[in-house]
């Protein structure tokens, strides 16, 4: 049965993704949930919780309020908290029971906005999808609502990094390293969505010549920014030797105004034979994994296959790569694999004789391997 799991965990869910995306932007995020969502998020999904104050709360939904459709309590409590804490915006996220009840979150957000005068919006979640969905939708909302529509690009070497949260990239120091690597190629990073920069910095995103979608979580925001400013985007993560190809793709995008998936172009330009069962298998977030696979191919000229464990992203895989949802399907796909690069918690379903390279991923194993997280920019 695809839905049963014996040994591996699930990925971070959409609700936590929303919180992770908005964490540093000065807003208030409310998860409409009885209990548990906040604890799960701040224990396993949010490495900034101990040191950085961010206004992320749960509503404490009760059985009676859920049955009676008492949205008034959520509205009242949210408005009261906003009046006390003065957030820059208010985001509402959903969980399974309000989803099942059909709670009208956009309407609630409208009422909250009318009562507080603070920009408010709902991010469609239900706790049943993975974090890519939550991060993506939250960043897209920021792009829609808070970027300066009058921004103009004056520098062809400017870029925004989209889809950056600790869930995929770890601590800020790792993100800073990614910026440094791009700066070494002559790029000026205007904003990082959304780590290390304020909402005011993100507001100027329209000034960039190109957007770099470093994880699938940044794609929806990239599409909004393309619609709003005509900014082309490139999909790929700076990793090892692939960074040069990525930079070239960004230059092409600036010149042609056309978006592209950098590792797809890189794959066409290299002559590594296709994966034929065995060799290297990378499991992980599709954009990061395909970029890592490209860097491996460039370095050792080995066939590499990517297995995407997330709901979204099939369209961003190279031919021969696959989406494998759930433990059963992933275990079946791993049969016969010789070299596996994945989060350490996958080891239990890998063939015993496979060589295993640990690539910890917070969105999968949480904080367990925090001290061993890779700096992607410096891999290979």
């Amino acid at each position: 049965m695809r839905q049963s799991y014996r040994r591996i965990p699930v990925y971070t869910a959409d609700v936590s993704g929303v919180c992770a995306a908005l964490f540093e932007l000065g807003g208030m995020t409310v998860m409409h949930d009885p209990s548990g969502c906040n604890s799960t998020y701040n224990t396993h999904d949010e490495i900034r919780w101990y040191d950085q104050d961010s206004l992320i709360f749960i509503s404490g939904l009760s059985e009676m309020d859920a049955i009676m459709g008492n949205d008034e309590k959520l509205i009242h409590d949210t408005v009261k908290a906003a009046r006390e804490l003065h957030p820059a915006f208010i985001a509402l996220a959903n969980s399974p029971i309000p989803y099942m009840n059909g709670t009208d979150f956009p309407a609630i957000a409208d009422i909250v906005q009318q009562e507080t005068g603070i920009p408010s919006f709902a991010v469609a979640t239900n706790g049943m999808h993975d974090y890519v969905c939550g991060v993506g939708r939250a960043l897209a909302k920021i792009a829609e609502l808070f970027t300066d529509p009058d921004a103009v690009c004056n520098n062809p070497r400017t870029v925004n990094l989209l889809g950056v949260t600790p869930l995929d990239f770890g601590p800020l120091s790792h993100v800073s390293r990614m910026k440094e690597v791009l700066e070494a190629y002559g790029w000026t990073v205007l904003s990082v969505w959304a780590m290390g920069d304020t909402r005011d910095t993100l507001k100027r995103a329209g000034e960039a010549a190109v957007n770099l979608v470093v994880s699938l979580s940044g794609l929806m925001a990239a599409e909004v920014l393309f619609e709003k400013f005509g900014t082309p985007y490139v999909i790929g993560t700076p990793i090892g030797g692939f960074t040069a190809r990525l930079s070239a793709a960004m230059e092409r995008a600036v010149k042609t105004k056309k978006s592209e998936t950098a590792y797809r172009v890189c794959d066409r330009e290299t002559s590594v034979p296709a994966y034929s069962g065995g060799e290297v298998t990378v499991i992980g977030e599709p954009v990061l994994s395909e970029s890592l696979a490209a860097a491996i191919r460039l370095k050792v000229e080995n066939p590499v296959r990517v297995l995407n464990p997330l709901e979204q992203g099939s369209a961003f895989l190279l031919p021969g790569d696959r989406t494998a949802l759930g433990e059963e399907e992933m275990e079946a796909q791993l049969k016969g694999s010789q070299i596996i690069v994945a989060d350490p918690l996958y080891r239990s379903i890998c063939p015993q004789n496979a060589k295993f390279y640990a690539l910890p991923h917070i969105a999968f194993s949480g904080r367990i391997f925090l001290k061993e997280l890779p700096v992607f920019a410096d891999l290979l």
Binding site: Y11, T43, M100, G366
Partner: protein
Amino acid sequence: MDPSGATVRIKEAGFPAPFLSELEFNSPVHGNWNIVHTGMLLPDSIQIYVCADNCMRGVVLTAAEMNAADRFSFVILREENLLNDNLEEITIEGVSDVLQKRKDHPRAVLVFTVCLHHFLGCDLDRVYEELERRFPDTFFVRCYMDPIMQKAGLTPEQKLRKAIYDALVPGREVTRSAAVLGSDFALDDTSDIRRLLSKNGYMLAELPGCKSWEEYLQLSRSRLFLCTYPAGQYGAGKQAERLSKEYLYLPSCFGYEEIAGYLKQLTEVLELAPLDIEAEIAACEAALHQAREVISDTVIVLDSLLHPRPLGLARLLISHGFSVRTVYLDGISREEQEDFDWLSQHAPDLELAATIQVKMRILPRTHSEKILALGQKAAWFNQTGYFVNMVQGAGLWGFDGIRCLCSLMIEACEEEKDTRDLVVRKGWGCESCI
């Protein structure tokens, strides 16, 4: 920021709810035990959860962090299961699939169903009937992860602390024996209850000490059931009723009279030779005096995660000259009514501070003076490394518990701890791989 609504002087506080129920903050303190930790106490068992991704992630990683992932499996509920399927079928087939694939044959399986089962009217009787038919050698423990119910009814942990003893069956009684039900921690060897029973030739059995299924089953052979932890009271009482046991609820507390009263009850029910209460109290006074000498006027803050009787502890300390400034709690137990009244009268300026009110996220947490915190949350909210690292009363009980706590306070006041490293670990006392 004005702290009103998040803090209140005790003389102005409402009882038992000093703070309004509103949006909730969750601090980065995680030493409390959750249903996964408690469920793991049942030997030769595994846990299977049936829920959506977001609810699942917290529990599956709890198990992984305590190095118990091999005793944890789950079934994910998808949107289509809510809209098109029935939850009975997905629960039965999912749990069956897990059990068929696992190579081990656990004696018991704790199946956790969730809010969705409740709201969709899932027929849990049918689920368990079918599971029991398919796996007749396995005991299915009916557990719940349904926090949506907890504001008006029993919490998931209260229900678990009953269900975890459901496999016990009546057995030949061992006359000179008692069992403690409902606690996560075994009572200290030096605790009053253990000393009293041991002195009189009684054995004391507890779930945290059980290493095998057979040892667990022996719990029901005890003559007397005891409960010392409030969250276990409901379950222990129900099990005593089901198994026709004598039962005493003897909660861990800090009042001399209350402790003496509980010891008297135990002594009378089992017809024991009593402890020397006067000597016990004298030893407590000496321990408190020694602690006061060391701690002097250092400001003390304490929390309800340290012990379920935070006001009782505050009262004990204030009445012995300690400088208690703040008690962190979100509600007050009815068991603490008398302590609340006493403190309102004798320490009216004692501050009560919420831990989940939204303002607690941003109210200042640093202080220029040295602060001694009793409990992890008190330590985090004051950013102090001088703290007693303990949760839920641990194995402390009675006069001995007071003396042990005095020793822990002295140690905490003299040696700074790494708060950041310690308080974020889940399930104090469990293994932690982070």
